[in-house]
């Protein structure tokens, strides 16, 4: 596929990650749009539920994660659209960059974006849904991080394959959301136990499930991505 000395995998992944961050920073307008999209989703959920504070507080974890899911579709879709516009992915592969490094870099780039977004959403969720963040802040951060990685790992593979399909905007959520069902269950429940009472100490199990989900999809994506990128 390529000639010349290869950059070590992790270093190449780091370079891809840096490149993506740089692009995000240079197109701040898109980033802002993404943030406001997620914020307005949160706001819409609270409008749809009406002013029932109790119900809002109870369902806050679900709303938070759904807002992240919807935002992730936008960010994942963008992350390969910018590559496919000028055959940039081909350029990356022809450069001595392993496809697996692209996968890792993209996954962690997207995960960091989503994680940052979720950090921005938290104070808004406090304002809208009246939740307590101070109960288990460390675990909450861990859940958000694991959840962001879990969305990105299968999401990047699906984004790479749907970037060139017709109706790609519909294709990505259609392919991605069913696969993310266990992640949604695990992260919403873990967030719920981070925010509220956890009588039976169920949080560690959900965290384990989240970790397992991340590891499985990171490994499967790592194995599959070269086959996917070959065809790009």
């Amino acid at each position: 596929m390529s000639v010349g000395p290869r950059v070590p995998l992790l270093k190449a992944a780091w370079l891809v990650l840096l490149k993506d961050w740089q692009i995000e920073w240079r197109t701040r307008a898109r980033l802002t749009a993404l943030i406001f999209f997620a914020l307005s989703t949160l706001l819409l959920f609270s409008f749809a539920m009406g002013p029932d504070t109790d119900a809002l507080r109870r369902h806050a974890p679900g709303y938070l994660w759904l807002a992240l899911f919807f935002a992730s579709v936008l960010s994942l879709g963008e992350s390969f659209r910018i590559e496919s516009e000028n055959q940039a992915l081909l350029g990356l592969i022809l450069n001595p960059v392993e496809p697996r490094a692209i996968f890792l870099g993209k996954v962690f780039g997207n995960a960091s974006l989503l994680f940052g977004l979720s950090l921005l959403l938290l104070p808004v969720a406090v304002a809208l849904y009246d939740i307590e963040l101070s109960k288990a802040p460390g675990s909450l951060l861990l859940v958000l991080l694991l959840g962001s990685i879990g969305i990105s790992a299968p999401g990047i593979v699906y984004s790479a394959i749907s970037a060139n399909a017709r109706a790609r905007d519909v294709m990505l959520p259609l392919l991605l959301f069913p696969v993310l069902v266990p992640l949604l269950l695990a992260s919403v429940n873990a967030t719920r136990f981070c925010l509220g009472p956890d009588a039976q100490n169920q949080l560690p199990s959900w965290l384990k499930l989240l970790t397992a989900f991340d590891l499985i999809y990171l490994s499967v994506g790592f194995l599959l991505f070269p086959k996917v990128a070959e065809e790009d």
Binding site: L9, K208, L209, S219
Partner: protein
């Protein structure tokens, strides 16, 4: 080496999954089920006399659902009809002309 690390990751992940045991379900107690609302179209009387042995087996437990034949018929129609119509759709879409590989 890389592949080995991957295998280790995968197996660790599956161990992590296996470690979370499903909580033991409560000991199963026969629930007392109210008779379901059966639509008015329920055909045929209950063919109870056909199964003296079976009914006897079913009797000792509580909460036996009575009737509901309409649902059963609906499912069997669905099974046969679905199979038939999917087969029909395959027939209608059948390729005309020589099959690929027929010449090789």
């Amino acid at each position: 080496m890389k592949w080995f690390a991957l295998l280790a990751t995968l197996s660790f992940a599956s161990f992590a999954l296996a470690d979370i045991a499903v909580p033991k379900p409560e000991p199963f107690v026969a629930p007392v089920v109210a008779a379901p609302e059966v639509p008015a179209v329920t055909p045929t009387p209950s063919p109870a006399p056909l199964h003296p042995q079976g009914i006897e087996k079913a009797m000792p437990s509580m909460g036996v659902i009575d009737g509901g034949w309409a649902y059963v018929y609906a499912c069997y129609f669905l099974a046969i009809g679905g199979t038939f119509f999917y087969g029909l759709s395959l027939f209608l879409r059948r390729p005309t002309g020589p099959l690929p590989g027929a010449q090789s």
